[in-house]
C-alpha cells in the first residue's frame, strides 16, 4: 500500500480545493489535491453564469460596493447566514476576481458606448462609460440590486477552473486524479489525513497531512432529480459524518434551481433570465410578474422555484410524459446573443432536447441544485470537532448563504473562500507539527479493508447497491422537496431509516476487482443515506419557513425560535438518526432581520431584535 505525506491534503480539485492548495504552495508548503476525476472535470467547470463581485464597472452596476453586495447576500440568505462571513466574502470578492484576471481568466469586458439589454421581454437602452472600457463587466442575476455577476460568456466556471488549474500546475500543486477518499484518519481530536481508493487500480492508499481540507463540492446526487454532476454524491461528506465528531451544518437547506431542463435536469444558467429571458406557462403567458411585480423572474431562486411549483399546482403547467413543466423563453434575445453569450445553453438545447432556443421554448422545472449545508466551519474555514480539518466551497457550511444562496455567489465563494481559508490554512501550517499515530492509521486501514472484503463476500447480505440508492433518492425526492410538511417529512425519515438498514446489508454482485464501480458505490451508500437522513430529519425539526426551506404547515419565518443553524452529527455507528444541535445563525448582526423585499410571507420577529449597524 502506498503512503503519501504532504502538508495540505485537499479532498477535491475543483476551484475551492485548488485555490487553497495554491495559497499553501505559494507559502512554500506541499499540497496534494485528490480528485475522483481529472481536475478540470470538477463540477466547478459546469457553472455557466458567473461570479458576483462588486466591481461596479458596468453601467448597470454603477455605484455597487461590497456593502450593497453584503445587503443582497444577507437578504438572499433570509437572514440565515453568518454575517461576519458574508462580510469577509463581499469585501474580498473584487480582489479575487481581479487576481483571477491576472492569472488568465478571459472575463468579458466593458465595451464603451450605447448598448441594449432585455428585461421582462422588453428591450432597453444603456450607455457604458467610455472611461470604463476594458474593465471587467457584469451581467444581471437574481436577488441583486446591481448588475454584479462577472462572466466569460456562459463558460465562466470552465474558464476560471482552467485558469486555476494552470496556476496550480505552475505552483507545483500535485493533483492525484481518479482517487476517491473513503474515510478520514482521526483519533477523535485531530485529523491526520485520509484513506483513499485508487479508481485506476482499486488499491487503497494512505494520505497523511498536517492539514486536511474537504473541498469536494455538493451532494445533490442523493436526490433523484438534480442538476449536479454524477460525482457530486456526498462521498466526502459521508466520510466526515462517519468521524462521529464533526457536525454538518444546515443540511435541510437545499436549493432548487428554477431552470433545470425536462427531462434530463441539466441546468440552463440563471444568465438566461438575467439577460432578459422570461418564464411562461401552458398558455404561453408570463406569470412571475404577477407574483413578484418588482423582481419578477429575478427574485431569488427559492422564491422563483416556489412560485413555479405554485403555478403548476394552479393548473398552469405544461403536461409532458415526464410530468408537468413550464417554459423558459429566450427567443427575443436574438440569434447573435443566444449563439454567443448563451452558447452553452444553445448547445444544451440542441444536443439534449433537440430544440433551437432561437425559435423554440425551453421546457424547465425546479430541480435540486445546490447544497447550502455542508461541513460546518468557523469563519477561518476550520471544521468543528477535529483539529487540522478544514472545509471550503460548496462542501462547507462556511455559511455565507444561509438558507438560500444567490446565483453567482457560489462560484465566487469557491475562489474567495479558497483565498481566505487558504491563508488561514497557511497560518495553521506555520504553527503545526506533524503527529501521525501509526496505530490510528493501521486501525482505519484495517477497518476499510474489512469493509471491502465483507462487501465482496456478501457477508452482511446481498442487497443491490443501485436499488438501495434508488430507494434513497425516491424518498428524498418525494418527501423533502420544495414544499415541505410534517407528514411528508416524517414519512421520508421513516423510509430513509428503512433504506439505512438495507444499506448495511449490501453485497456485491461483481467481483470487486480493480476500479470496480459497484464497489465504489457500495462503500459510500450507507454514508449517503445518513446524509439524506440529516437533510430529512433537520427539515422535519425546523418548524418554520426560511429561504429554500418552505414548510406549508409553518409558513412564517420564525426569527423568535429559529434564527439558528442546525448541526447534525452521527454520534454512534448504530444510531438510526443524526443527533441535532443548534447554534446562533450569526455571532453578530450588521443588518438586523427584516423583510427581503420579495417572496412575501410573514415573519415572527425576535423577542429582542438587535440594533445592527445600519437602518
Amino acid at each position: 500500500m502506498q503512503t503519501f505525506y504532504t502538508d495540505v491534503l485537499s479532498i477535491g480539485a475543483g476551484l475551492a480545493g485548488e485555490r487553497v492548495a495554491i495559497e499553501a504552495a505559494g507559502a512554500g508548503f506541499d499540497a496534494i489535491c485528490l480528485s475522483i476525476v481529472p481536475a478540470r472535470r470538477s463540477h466547478s467547470s459546469a457553472a455557466q453564469g458567473g461570479m458576483q463581485a462588486a466591481l461596479g464597472n458596468s453601467a448597470m452596476g454603477e455605484g455597487d460596493t461590497p456593502d450593497v453586495h453584503f445587503n443582497d447576500t444577507v437578504k438572499g440568505s433570509d437572514w440565515g447566514c453568518d454575517q461576519e462571513v458574508a462580510r469577509i466574502f463581499c469585501d474580498n470578492a473584487p480582489i479575487a476576481m481581479r487576481q483571477m484576471a491576472h492569472w488568465g481568466v478571459p472575463w468579458n469586458r466593458v465595451v464603451g458606448g450605447k448598448g441594449f439589454y432585455y428585461k421582462g421581454g422588453e428591450r432597453f437602452e444603456k450607455f457604458e462609460k467610455p472611461e470604463n472600457e476594458g474593465l471587467i463587466t457584469a451581467r444581471n442575476f437574481g436577488g441583486t440590486a446591481k448588475w454584479r455577476t462577472c462572466y466569460t460568456s456562459d463558460g465562466t466556471g470552465h474558464t476560471v477552473l482552467y485558469t486555476m488549474d494552470n496556476r496550480a500546475a505552475k505552483m507545483g500543486v500535485q493533483v492525484h486524479d481518479k482517487v476517491e477518499v473513503i474515510s478520514l484518519i482521526q483519533d477523535g481530536k485531530r485529523c491526520m489525513g485520509a484513506v483513499a481508493r485508487c479508481l485506476k487500480t482499486g488499491e487503497l492508499r494512505v494520505y497523511l497531512a498536517k492539514a486536511t481540507l474537504v473541498a469536494a463540492g455538493g451532494f445533490g446526487r442523493i436526490y433523484r432529480e438534480s442538476t449536479n454532476a454524477v460525482i457530486c454524491d456526498g462521498g466526502a461528506h459521508a466520510a466526515v459524518l462517519d468521524t462521529g465528531v464533526v457536525p454538518l451544518g444546515n443540511m435541510e437547506a437545499v436549493q432548487f434551481h428554477p431552470t433545470g431542463i425536462v427531462p434530463t435536469y441539466i441546468l440552463v444558467t440563471e444568465g438566461c433570465r438575467g439577460d432578459g429571458g422570461t418564464l411562461l406557462d401552458v398558455n404561453q403567458e408570463r406569470f412571475m410578474n404577477i407574483y413578484e411585480p418588482e423582481k419578477a423572474e429575478l427574485a431569488s431562486r427559492d422564491v422563483v422555484s416556489r412560485w413555479m411549483m405554485h403555478h403548476i399546482r394552479e393548473g398552469k403547467g405544461v403536461k409532458s410524459p415526464y410530468g408537468e413543466h413550464l417554459w423558459l423563453d429566450i427567443r427575443h434575445l436574438g440569434e447573435q446573443h443566444i449563439r454567443g453569450k448563451l452558447r452553452e445553453v444553445d448547445d444544451i438545447c440542441q444536443n439534449f432536447l433537440g430544440i433551437d432556443p432561437v425559435k423554440d421554448l425551453i421546457p424547465v422545472k425546479p430541480v435540486q441544485h445546490y447544497s447550502m449545508g455542508g461541513v460546518r466551519t468557523n469563519k477561518d474555514g476550520a471544521a468543528y470537532g477535529l483539529e487540522g480539518l478544514f472545509a471550503a466551497g460548496e462542501a462547507a457550511c462556511w455559511d455565507m448563504h444561509g438558507f438560500n444562496r444567490l446565483g453567482g455567489n457560489s462560484l465566487a465563494e469557491t475562489v474567495v473562500a479558497g483565498m481566505v481559508v487558504g491563508g488561514k490554512v497557511v497560518e495553521y501550517l506555520q504553527g503545526a507539527e506533524a503527529q501521525f499515530k501509526t496505530s490510528v492509521i493501521e486501525d482505519q486501514v484495517a477497518k476499510d479493508r474489512n469493509r471491502i472484503q465483507r462487501l465482496i463476500d456478501c457477508a452482511d447480505g446481498g442487497e443491490d447497491a443501485f436499488k438501495v440508492r434508488a430507494a434513497m433518492q425516491d424518498a428524498l425526492q418525494d418527501g423533502v422537496h420544495i414544499f415541505r410538511s410534517h407528514n411528508d417529512l416524517e414519512q421520508a425519515v421513516f423510509q430513509l431509516q428503512e433504506v439505512h438498514e438495507r444499506a448495511k446489508k449490501i453485497g456485491l454482485k461483481s467481483n470487486g476487482k480493480g476500479a470496480n464501480p459497484e464497489l465504489a458505490l457500495a462503500l459510500k451508500m450507507a454514508g449517503q443515506v445518513k446524509l439524506a437522513l440529516c437533510v430529512a430529519y433537520g427539515a422535519l425539526k425546523r418548524t418554520e419557513s426560511r429561504g429554500s426551506h418552505a414548510r406549508e404547515d409553518f409558513p412564517e419565518r420564525n426569527d423568535r425560535d429559529w434564527l439558528n443553524r442546525t448541526l447534525a452529527t452521527w454520534k454512534n455507528e448504530d444510531d438510526d438518526l443524526p443527533t441535532l444541535n443548534y447554534e446562533d445563525a450569526t455571532p453578530s448582526f450588521e443588518i438586523p432581520p427584516g423583510d427581503r423585499g420579495y417572496g412575501g410571507g410573514t415573519i415572527i420577529p425576535m423577542d429582542n431584535p438587535p440594533a445592527g449597524k445600519e437602518d
Binding site: V37, S42, R98, A169, D177, I266, A515
Partner: protein, 248 residues
C-alpha cells in the same frame, strides 16, 4: 416502433488476472431521448455492475466521456441513440492508457501536456490587490475564450493520425492551448519561446494535416485554423532564427 438496441462493448479489467480483452453484448429497448449516458448506466445498474466507463457532468461540459462510438471518437453523454444504427459498438479511446472497459486515463496525459507547453500565463507583472484590473479589449477576451472552450475530452488526440503513430506527438489540443496563450496579451512569451516548445515534429511540424481533430471535436473548435496559424507563425519564427537580427 421502439427499437431494440444491441451494444457491443469492449471489456477488459487489467487488475483482474482472469480478465482477457473481449467484446460483450448487451441488449436494451430504446426509450425516447436516450443517450449513451442513459443506456450505459442502465446496463450497469441492471445487467453488469462491473462495467467501467466515465461520465461526470453528463451535459457535454466536462469532457469525461470520450469514447469510440461505432469507430468515431465522441462524447457519450451528448450522443443520442436515435442518431445511431440499432447495433452500437463502443470502444475506449486509443492513445490514452486503459483503466478498464471504456475508461481511460486522460488525466495523466493532459497533466504531462500542461508541463510541456507550460500551460499558464508567463508574466513578470506582480498582482496588486489594491489596483484596478489590467484592461483588456473585449474582442480579445472573446477570442481567447473561443480557444479555451476545449474540454480536454481527448477526442482530437484519438482522431489524429500522427498521435496514433507516435506517442510523443502533442496533438491538436496542446497546439490549440499554445495558440490560446500566443494571442493573450498577458502572456509575455515571445514567438521564439513558443518555437522552443512546439517548433518540432512533436509539435506543429508533426501534424500531417489530416484534420481528423477538427472533424471529431465535440465543441467544434476551430482547430484547423489554429494549426494553420501556428504553422505559419512557427515557420516564420524558424526563418528568423537564421537572420542576425531575428532572434530575440
Amino acid at each position: 416502433m421502439a427499437r431494440t438496441l444491441k451494444f457491443n462493448v469492449f471489456r477488459y479489467n487489467p487488475m483482474d488476472e482472469k480478465s482477457v480483452p473481449h467484446m460483450d453484448t448487451f441488449v436494451l429497448p430504446e426509450i425516447p431521448s436516450m443517450t449513451l449516458f442513459i443506456a450505459l448506466n442502465q446496463i450497469r445498474e441492471e445487467q453488469d455492475p462491473s462495467l467501467q466507463f466515465d461520465f461526470c457532468c453528463r451535459a457535454g461540459i466536462c469532457g469525461a466521456c470520450g469514447m469510440l462510438i461505432n469507430g468515431r471518437p465522441g462524447l457519450g453523454c451528448k450522443t443520442k441513440t436515435k442518431d445511431l444504427p440499432d447495433e452500437i459498438t463502443l470502444l475506449p479511446l486509443p492513445v490514452f492508457k486503459l483503466v478498464g472497459d471504456l475508461s481511460v486515463d486522460t488525466g495523466t496525459w493532459f497533466r504531462e501536456m500542461y508541463a510541456k507547453v507550460e500551460s499558464w500565463i508567463h508574466t513578470d507583472t506582480v498582482f496588486d490587490p489594491t489596483a484596478e484590473e489590467e484592461r483588456m479589449d473585449n474582442s480579445i477576451a472573446e477570442e481567447i475564450y473561443e480557444l479555451e472552450r476545449c474540454v480536454e475530452c481527448g477526442c482530437c488526440v484519438a482522431g489524429c493520425g500522427t498521435a496514433r503513430m507516435r506517442k510523443d506527438f502533442m496533438g491538436a489540443v496542446a497546439l490549440n492551448r499554445v495558440a490560446r496563450f500566443l494571442i493573450d496579451p498577458r502572456d509575455q512569451r515571445s514567438e521564439a519561446d513558443y518555437y522552443d516548445i512546439i517548433g518540432t515534429d512533436e509539435g506543429i511540424f508533426g501534424c500531417m494535416g489530416l484534420l481528423g481533430c477538427e472533424d471529431v471535436c465535440p465543441k467544434e473548435l476551430p482547430l484547423q485554423d489554429q494549426l494553420g496559424f501556428l504553422r505559419r507563425k512557427m515557420g516564420l519564427a524558424a526563418i528568423k532564427r537564421f537572420l542576425p537580427f531575428g532572434k530575440k
